[in-house]
Structure formats: structure tokens, C-alpha cells
Symmetry: none
Subunit: 412 residues, 2 copies
């Protein structure tokens, strides 16, 4: 038996998206409709009713973990997702290249994304290796555009500190401070964050890459902002719990990182970008091939959420239509449906008019030989509300692996 979990990020919508329909309802999705007809649909609250999920917490919950118990923050998944070797006790961060200016009394934020810098990040990252922190090992890596991740390793560090990203253009950069006064481990880490801010500005502000950016009228990437401080969570791996081996296929570092933290292998393929420009056909073929070597595959598709955050209903609808055609087309052809179960859902709702995550449940589809098929024959939020899976919270991966008779018994 094989299993495939597909999550389209932020897939859920609201009636305000397009003429009283959600983007998914408005999209033409013949393949998904066929799968809905063969299988069963329902609504899933990614974490729970009324809980507005982040992408990290939603994924943990959909993969079968209780985020209220295991979630430590986002940074650790970003570090894992860009290939860093994270040990228990390391403090991990999401990092942004940003633009600041020096004014009396400190640094003022001009651009949180340094003009969405698209080249030269690795050279800037190389310059940062000169930063020395007393008693703490420091590793920074650039990832896509302005994004990066940072890892601190040392004795008795704590992630209980405040971030130094003011999230608001024109605001002064705050110092990072320990959340619990008097805690030595968080005092060390807060001091390191503040040292990194000052040192990164000193090293980057006049860097040749930034001089060139200024000449071109672009914002310089002259500081590293840090947030999402977190340590490696204690997650029993899917292998430990279910006894099966899985792989994650995701363009976004966060999602690869979550998969890796759950014990999956990360697979790469050219053309997988984590954006609207991703090659969905490559993603499908990579998944189909991976099922020769793995028991299950988790495929993450990010573009739906990007279009939602961009408040672009047409882009979201068209991307859903591309998922149907370019991803599910090959999937329908390429899988052995006699011995495969598939689950498809989103990790939250991202309505167009709001442009951010909301708490409404998302539709979910299970298909395969052991699924009790229902009467739904199309895939959308309101049709799924009438489906045979009814409404439940999280745990999509455990439900999927259970159809393959891989779930551990609780009790006897």
C-alpha cells in the first residue's frame, strides 16, 4: 500500500472571493471533482474550531501532532528546511535581510524585505561569518529572496526572548530582551541577537553589493532581523509511530522543515519554487517516483496561499485550476489506485479580501479503496460540508495512514 498527502496552502476561501463563491468553488477542477466522486469529502478545522492557524502550527496538527504541546516557534523549521543541522538545545530563528538607516539613538526600519533582494544574498551571508559571539557558535544561511535562517549553538541557551523585527516601516529597531527576567540562557541569546543586529549593520551597510544596490536605486540589505526563536521540538517521528517511511516534497523551507522534524526525507527537484511559478508537473512526477521508494509522500503546494496574501482572486482561482490540471492530471494517471490512498486539503483559509489566514475549516478529500465513498461529486467548501467525512479537527496524516492499516493501536 502507498499513501500520498497533498496540502494546498491557504486553499480555503470565503463567499467574498469571487461573486459569492470561494476561489476553489469558482475554479474549474474536473480531476478533483472526479476524485471527490470516487472518495469522500468533509471539512477539517486545521487545529480546532475558531482557532486561526499559522502555517507551522496547522501543519503540525494536520500531521497528527498537538501544536499546543509541541510547537516551539517557526525558526527551527526554517533552519531545518534550508538544510541546517539542528541539535536539541540550539536556538533557531527566521531571518530577514532588511533595510535600516542610522539615526540618533539607533536604527530605523526602512524596508523589512530589503527591496525583495533577488541576488547577492550568498555573498552578504558570507560577510556575516566574521561575526564573533562569546561562547556561542553562529550559523547564518540565506534562502529565497530576503529570507534566511540563523542558528545559535552554546551551553544552556534559551529561546525565550523577544524579536527585534519591529514589523513596521519607520519604527526604531527594538532591542531583544529575555521574556523571563533573570534567566541567564535567554539573557545570553537576547544579547547575541542585539550583537548580530549591530554587527550585521557594520558588516553589510557598505558592502559592495549594497553600494551597487544603492546606485541602482534599490534598498540595501544592510541588516539581519531575527524572529521566531525556537528550539527543536520533541516530535515522535512518523516512522516511530506508524512504522513507515515518508518523504516531503515542498518548495517552501518551512514545510520541508516540518516534514524533516517529523522524520521525513526531503526530496528536491528542479522547478519546485514554493511560489505561483512552481512546476506542478515536476512535483507530481517527483511524488509518483518517490512512491517507488517510500511508503508515503507529503506534497506541499504553496501558491494558493501566496495568491491569497496578495489578495488576487484570479491568480488563486487559476492556480487551483493549474493544480487540478498539472498536478492531479499526472497523479490520476500515475498512481496505482487499487493500492493507494490519497488525502487532499488546505492548511487554513486565506480569504482574498482579508489577505491573511482565518479560522474557517477547509475542505478535505480522501480517496482510495478503503474510503467509505459518499455522494459528493465536486470539491469545494460548501459541497464538502455535506460530505461523508463530516467535520473534524487536524490529524489528516494519521487518518490517511490508517486507511493503509498502518496506525498503531492505542490500548489493546
Amino acid at each position: 500500500m502507498k499513501a500520498i498527502l497533498v496540502i494546498a496552502d491557504g486553499m480555503g476561501g470565503r463567499p467574498s472571493d469571487i461573486d459569492g463563491k470561494t476561489c476553489l468553488e469558482a475554479a474549474r477542477t474536473p480531476n478533483l471533482d472526479t476524485l471527490a466522486g470516487r472518495g469522500a469529502t468533509g471539512l477539517v478545522d486545521p487545529i480546532g474550531p475558531g482557532i486561526r492557524p499559522g502555517s507551522d502550527t496547522a501543519h503540525l496538527s494536520l500531521l497528527g501532532y498537538d501544536p499546543y504541546k509541541v510547537y516551539t516557534g517557526r525558526g527551527v523549521f526554517e533552519c531545518l528546511g534550508i538544510g541546517m543541522d539542528v541539535h536539541h538545545g540550539d536556538v533557531c530563528f527566521r531571518a530577514n535581510f532588511a533595510t535600516v538607516e542610522k539615526v540618533d539613538g539607533g536604527l530605523r526600519l526602512l524596508d523589512r524585505r530589503a527591496g525583495r533582494i533577488a541576488s547577492g544574498q550568498d555573498e552578504l551571508a558570507a560577510a556575516l561569518t566574521d561575526i564573533q559571539l562569546e561562547g556561542i557558535r553562529f550559523e547564518f544561511r540565506a534562502s529565497t529572496q530576503h529570507r534566511g535562517a540563523l542558528l545559535l549553538r552554546g551551553d544552556d541557551l534559551s529561546a525565550r526572548i523577544t524579536e527585534n523585527d519591529p514589523h513596521k516601516v519607520g519604527a526604531m529597531l527594538p532591542d531583544s530582551v529575555p521574556i523571563d527576567a533573570g534567566d541567564a540562557g535567554s539573557a545570553l541569546v537576547a544579547a547575541a541577537v542585539n550583537d548580530i543586529a549591530r554587527a550585521s549593520f557594520a558588516l553589510l551597510n557598505d558592502h559592495p553589493i549594497n553600494s551597487k544596490r544603492r546606485q541602482e536605486g534599490k534598498h540595501p540589505a544592510n541588516i539581519i532581523l531575527l524572529r521566531g526563536a525556537s528550539t527543536l521540538p520533541h516530535l515522535p517521528s512518523v516512522k516511530e509511530t506508524f512504522g513507515v517511511r515518508g518523504a516531503v516534497i515542498a518548495g517552501g523551507a518551512l514545510y520541508r522543515g516540518v516534514g524533516l522534524a517529523c522524520g521525513m526525507d526531503a526530496l528536491y527537484a528542479p522547478g519546485i519554487t514554493g511560489g505561483l511559478d512552481t512546476d506542478l508537473g515536476v512535483k507530481a512526477r517527483t511524488a509518483i517516483d518517490a512512491l517507488d521508494r517510500y511508503d508515503y509522500v507529503f506534497v506541499h503546494i504553496k501558491g494558493t496561499d501566496n495568491a491569497g496574501h496578495d489578495k488576487d482572486a484570479v491568480a488563486k482561482r487559476e492556480f487551483i485550476e493549474r493544480i487540478d490540471r498539472e498536478f492531479f492530471g499526472p497523479i490520476m494517471e500515475g498512481l496505482d489506485w487499487k493500492s493507494t490512498h490519497l488525502a487532499f486539503t488546505g492548511d487554513h483559509t486565506t480569504p482574498i479580501d482579508y489577505g491573511d489566514h482565518t479560522a474557517e475549516p477547509v475542505p478535505v478529500l480522501f480517496v482510495g479503496p478503503n474510503v467509505r465513498s459518499d455522494t459528493t461529486t465536486s470539491f469545494g467548501e460548501r459541497e464538502a460540508a455535506t460530505g461523508g467525512l463530516c467535520r473534524f479537527s487536524g490529524s489528516i496524516l494519521p487518518m490517511l495512514l490508517n486507511y493503509n492499516n498502518w496506525a498503531p493501536k492505542f490500548g489493546s
Copy 2:
């Protein structure tokens, strides 16, 4: 955006209520049916499937709190609801004026409600101010009929004590005792409860009000019984969590108290009684006016539950019809439906033949611009079971505020 949450206490019913229908199903409710047609319906387990809720725990759960974590007992909500200033560490009680007689070996209960005393309670309460307790400040207030609330303030008090209400006519009054043997704080409070029982009998038994009651053939209100010992729970306010300001409109002290404990302001209006005789039109107008000053309003309607406890199916059905006409009539006219979300539900089922709370889920209705409308066009238990919200537990207020894009994100 604005939001309004309406809870009709004990609204749910059973087929045994009226000719195979619940009181709600049997009631003519054209306004609710119209709202159901515009919005979406479903079933909510106030706390969880199979859990038979109290009114206090159900309300905490519907307002988004986990009653298993935060609930300390009912007394504190009664004290808050009648306007007492409750501090952390105070021990609060629901109090009853009751009738006892002195017999060999103690006091025997004759009437738990002192003939549902309807006048003179404030004078009796004034007589109790003579009670002196060593090291403990004592405050008692009468509320409606036989009801009142009592607050004890002192160092290191504990609410872990047994009540002294035997709940059974003819039974001897038990002494209050600490639940945990050897605990000094609860020993103090149990002793205070016993002192108050003895002292209240001494002060009230021959009080002129009671002499007059005896002459009139009525039971004297000659003792204070205490139950629901509890301390102020640690509830993050709705303001803290969602950043918005709300008000509670409720005739019953308990419901005002729950709203106050969650950080709402309590609004009053003449004619709001917390009973079947309440002025539902005033309630609607008070809510509509309040939405000019507040982000959201929570309206509690008690009469449905009263009729259920009285096992009066006709009264319950007719009161539901009055809610539809006298409350929802003005609400449908008076709200700006382009920018308002409304939720309507009950806090539990109170079937007529049982006359007390049961665990079945209750119907719920959400309506407003961001609600994914469904195909239901009437409002009742069995129709709601086919609605687009399916079935879920608690969290009605978080779901409502999420529709207004006010929910905090968990994770990132």
C-alpha cells in the same frame, strides 16, 4: 465590523417535547428561518459530545475557554454578576435564603427557597452585617427571590470545602468540611461557612420580616445556605485575546458574571428580568444601541431554560416564538447586515420531560457577509444537523469574532 452573540439558555429539546418535535421545531420562527436561509447552521456540543453541561461551564466553553482548565465553581460568577468587587483569592458562594427548623442535634431543612421569598430580602441581608468572622471579611448580598451571593476575603483562604446545602427537604444541614484534610485555608473557610449558618439562623429566625411571614403562613427565610465555593478564575479577557471591546446584556446574575469575568462590560436596561417575563424588545434595542459603542455584544436570554426546568412545553415554545418576534424582529431591522456577523445558539438542551440539562448538541446559526451560506432554510435541531457548519464543540465567540477578522493567529 460588528458582532452579536445571542444565547437562548436551554434552547435545545427532545422529540418528547411536543408531538415528536422539540419546542424549537414546534415553534413558528419566521425571522430565525430567514436568518438560517441567509447564513449557515449546524450543531454545537456546548462543551463536548456526551458532556452534560452546567450553564456556567457551557458559557465558558461557548465563549472560547476550556472549562476543564479554568472553571473554579459558580459562586464567583454570581458575586460578579450582582456587582460585587471580587479580588483574586476571595472565596465566593451562591447563597440561598432557606427555611430550617431547630431539632435535637441541629437544623433540619424545610424549604430550600424560603417560600420563594419575594420581598424583604434586603432588610434580612442588612441584619447579617452583624456577623463577625475572625480574620475574614464578610460580604453578603441578596439578589432575586431567595438568591444571593457571599464573598469571604482573608489571607490564604481556599475554596476546597463541601457545601452545607443538603438539597433535600427533611434532611439535616451538614457541616461544611475541608475537602483536603489538614489544609489550613479550607479549614478556615469551612469554619466560616458553619459560623455563618449558625449566626444567620440566630439573627434571622426571629427577625420581624420572618415573624410577619409566619403570620402570613409563609416559610421564614431564617438561614443562609452556601454552595458553589470558588475563586476568581484566571481568564485572559476577550479584549486581551481579540483586541476588541464587548458588552454583556443578561438578566441573570450568573451570565452577567461570566461576561464580566471575560472582560465584558455589563449593560442594564429596565424590563430585563432573566425570566419568562423579560422585555425582549428592550433587550434587542439595548443590544443595537450598544453596538454603536462596542465591537461586539453578548445577549443572554434565560426564559427558554426556565420553561424547560418547569417542564412547560407550551411556555417554552411560546417563549421561543416571542424571541423570534420580539427580539429578532428588531434585530433584523436594526443591524447593518453588510458589516455585522451574528451567532445564535443555546447553552444546552433542557428537555421538557426531564426538566433539567442534557448533553445533546444544540442548533447554531451564523449569519453575515463572510459566512459560507448553506442550504438550510429553517432553524431547528434536525434541520441544523444538515447544515454547512456540521457539528463541532464550543468556541462560538471565537468563531464569530474570526468572521470579523479579529482572531489572533496561533503560530506563524
